[in-house]
Symmetry: C3
Subunit: 176 residues, 3 copies
């Protein structure tokens, strides 16, 4: 059985400096634990908002760790230090605009400032990379919206077969 | 009267190798026949998922055949061989993000995996190019959604005046 | 108190040649006057659809005039002369896809040709730049949709604190 590794990359100057605890990365891990019935292993890192460092971490999680899925949190806003989408785009061969569109649309139901989020998603080799928002509540809203499409995307990338607790999240795999 | 030529480009390794019949390209031709009351001529080709070949075909349909509209089917997913959006972007001078956004939104009503489609649209010279999904059912859903804007777009590109069977599809042309 | 300067850039061959009056730029100024309770100063210009000139005007409004917000009108369609989004992207360091997505979605409620608009938004230094449509009615629909997120975006760019007539438009600032 193929090992399932998922990268969780928290991008935050303050969390990486220890100014506060990284609640966002932990919320992602807890949500994925709730979703997945497949056994999986997290590759978890907390780094500052430095584009070169984000790119290097994404590459390392994809190419060396072999993560089939990498989710980031933080750095998707309009502020000067927010460069997570740029780093993601720089390391991906293919962009997946549908993820950002749907996540913004879902967040717009809660806050009009959802349009300020520049979240994107893309593919590097066999890794799907998804930018999530910074706040635990928004993270869950976004993951609930896009995750049903994630296992099939990983199938198409010839990655491991992810199974879910279907009473919590229902993955969709179209009939051939 | 200007001749109306429309390019239909099926991008599929298997259909081009004769492994199966190209139902998608044929579904597009049938749908356009239903829509258009203007006489029109199809320029139809089936090619494998090779970026250079897709680009060459799009250019040829636009520049040499003079197609006012070129629709593709296939190659918009996340898999390694899916490169139709990249080829489209490479040959277009202008991108039209609204087409992909609306098509994904419409497909999302049917399947959560609609966000995996990377469909785009753009303009090269006087040709509007639109990526459609691979499956006949999704093709029709997407065309029904975006086609009302197509005749006016072609007007703005100084192309031929397309008329439709308005009981089937109603083109919209804003008053000046 | 920081002075609030807002750039209004009308991009139109005909308005700049005096063929007709620039009603769109004036509609933007009137709308911002209605919205804002903060005193503000407009930097208003009408130029033809020339990409180099649009870029130079956007840069000048951002870098020399210090406008915290720059809104354009015109030049976002598919026609040969429509190059406002390209000019905007060329001068911005960060793109804000959520603005264009929401504006197209709102306009789609009124006209199916809304998908032909290529409006975008982005950030250059401390300036938020937003492309608006060309017609006064659509301008208002789009501004009503996106403006609630604008003051907080400018906060994040460390610009001036914008206050609004909240019975007309309600800016949203998330709690930290």
């Amino acid at each position: 059985m193929t090992e399932i590794k998922i990268g969780i990359l928290t991008v935050s100057d303050r969390a990486s400096a220890g100014v506060y605890e990284d609640l966002s990365g932990k919320a992602i891990i807890a949500t994925l634990d709730e979703y997945l019935s497949s056994p999986w292993q997290s590759v978890y890192r907390v780094i500052p908002d430095e584009q070169a460092l984000i790119e290097a971490s994404l590459k390392q999680m994809a190419d060396e760790e072999g993560c089939c899925l990498i989710v980031t949190t933080g750095g998707t806003g309009p502020a000067l230090r927010d460069v997570t989408p740029e780093a993601t785009e720089a390391v991906c061969e293919k962009m997946m605009p549908g993820f950002g569109e749907l996540m913004r649309q879902v967040s717009l139901k809660y806050v009009p400032t959802a349009i300020l989020s520049r979240q994107t998603a893309g593919i590097r080799g066999k890794s799907l990379m998804i930018n999530l928002p910074g706040k635990p509540k928004s993270i869950r809203e976004c993951l609930d919206a896009v995750f049903p499409a994630v296992p099939y995307c990983i199938d198409l990338l010839e990655g491991p077969f992810l199974t879910c607790h279907e009473e919590i999240i229902k993955p969709f795999r179209p009939k051939a």
